[in-house]
Amino acid sequence: MLEVFIFATLNGLVTGLLLFMLASGLTLIFSMMGVLNFAHASFYMLGAYFAYSISLYLGFWAGLIFAPLIVGVLGALVERYGLRRVHQSGHVAELVFTFGMAFLIEEAVQFFWGPDTKNYQSPDLLDFPLFTLFGQEFPAYRGFMIGISISIFIGLYYLLTRSRVGIIIQAAITHPHTVANLGHNVPFIFMGVFGVGTALAGIAGVIAGPILTTFPGMAVVLGSIVFVIVVIGGLGSLVGAFIASLLIGLLQSYAIASDVGVQDLLNVLGLEFDRNHPLTDLWTLTLPQVAPILPFLLLVLVLIFRPTGLMGKREQ
């Protein structure tokens, strides 16, 4: 039981921190521009595909460095020549634009890389068990994912709260005109934040690609959950996104690792169930089966009881 809990926690951490890398970029962009970037998970997918192609010639580590850079530059260009122009037409136009970008990127990925799953592998250097506990091995690559995600969180938190650049970004979020009057190029800052946000998504793609498989539907799989996270965490809150990412990651991981079902709950309550009952499929449901819908269930609960999210600033 203890080993199940420990490994479920570790796997939950890996998933949660991976989700945070996506959610942090999305949160940054939302904070500055007030727009939910529907194409965000598509940049995550691009990160995986660019890294895969680079790894074929230069290896995994080159992909880890260059793929996020390419994705970041692409993101900055999308902001500069797309979103900035659409911005003048309001938020609805921006949403439609990012929605269209998501489709465009998915089609482009299929066009250039094809519809099949790519054999994108984790590096040989990390192909060993980091430790063995209760006879189970924890892969070094997953430890690497945890390390890189935590480093990014610390780096981002330091950048935004302690550095001069972070101070300018924070001020530009709420008072763009005043910041411009002090001599700071606010549109350039916005472009940079969009680029960094998409580059973070790119890093997530690079390190998730070998584990979650690299295929054209990978953006759709993770995209909806990332939106759930930013809403649960509170739109615009980086700390909220961090907490919600870990919450969702651990929640899903524990659910998958458990072998509890509705039947067990009924038994605890002293209730019997009839195998011929029309709802018998419901009684036989297990927690691992409902794990994928738990984030959405949590979203509904948060929206009912705390509409601003855990650390939300939407009302301010």
């Binding site: 001069r164 101070i167 300018i168 924070q170 001020a171 709420t174 008072h175 005109h177 005043t178 910041v179 411009a180 009057n181 002090l182 001599g183 700071h184 190029n185 606010v186």
Partner: protein, 231 residues
């Protein structure tokens, strides 16, 4: 230093500035006076590019009309807005740091010097700007702009809503700014502070310049004060 010629500006279809012309020379303190709604704030906003200007605006012999706000600020023209716009979640020190331009590391002002001039601000250096008093916020806002080491500064209603003691501090700071060779365009409604510190004055009415002179000449012009300034 600043030459404004035949400046027009509009809010929608409203013709706010109707061809105003004035100038500010190096190291000079010039006040722009007038009642509320005559276009004084719009004038400085048009100069900073916050309102679309029509006409000529030259700063340091360079046309700045139509340039972006950050480009104008980087040319050395500072602006302290009427609403102060302190960043409420940043500390007083961070507010000051925000005003610095990396290209001007050795300017006329430093954070430590500002704190020694205003001990109140020094005591509250690590406190969020949003919880400072109105007077402290005004000082912080002016000092934040000074951190960018402008050659000229435009200050919109710096004494609005402040206690007389704080108004005196503002006047002292304005004098100190001028002593360091920074030209000032002071937008004011209160006559006494403008009369005390200005080299020249302009009076605006209905979006136009209706008077230009010195403090002494304005004191003699009873009909101008009665028609355009006194309530």
């Amino acid at each position: 230093m600043l030459e404004v010629s035949d400046l027009h500006a509009y809010y929608g279809k409203s013709h706010i500035l109707q061809g105003i012309t004035f100038n500010v020379q190096e190291g000079e303190i010039v006040s722009l006076l007038g009642r509320n709604g005559v276009g004084r704030s719009t004038t400085v906003k048009a100069i900073m590019g916050e309102v679309l200007p029509q006409g000529s605006i030259r700063f340091k012999n360079q046309e700045i009309g139509g340039k972006k706000s950050f480009e104008i600020a980087n040319l050395g023209l500072g602006y302290v807005p009427e609403n102060r716009d302190i960043f409420p979640t940043l500390t007083a020190r961070q507010n000051l740091q925000l005003g610095m331009k990396s290209s001007k590391a050795n300017g006329r002002w430093s954070v430590e010097e500002i704190f020694s001039m205003f001990p109140n601000l020094a005591d509250r250096a690590e406190i969020d700007g949003g919880v400072l008093s109105g007077g402290e916020q005004q000082m912080l806002c002016m000092c934040r702009t000074l951190m960018g080491d402008p050659d000229m500064i435009m200050i919109d209603e710096p004494t609005e809503g402040l206690a007389p003691k704080i108004v005196e501090q503002v006047a002292n700071l304005l004098q100190e700014i001028a002593n360091r060779g920074v030209a000032i365009l002071l937008v004011e409604q209160k006559l006494n502070i403008a009369l005390n510190i200005s080299h020249r004055l302009y009076v605006m009415g209905h979006g136009q310049m209706v008077y230009e002179g010195t403090p002494a000449s304005l004191m003699q012009a009873d009909e101008v004060r009665a028609e355009w300034l006194e309530v």
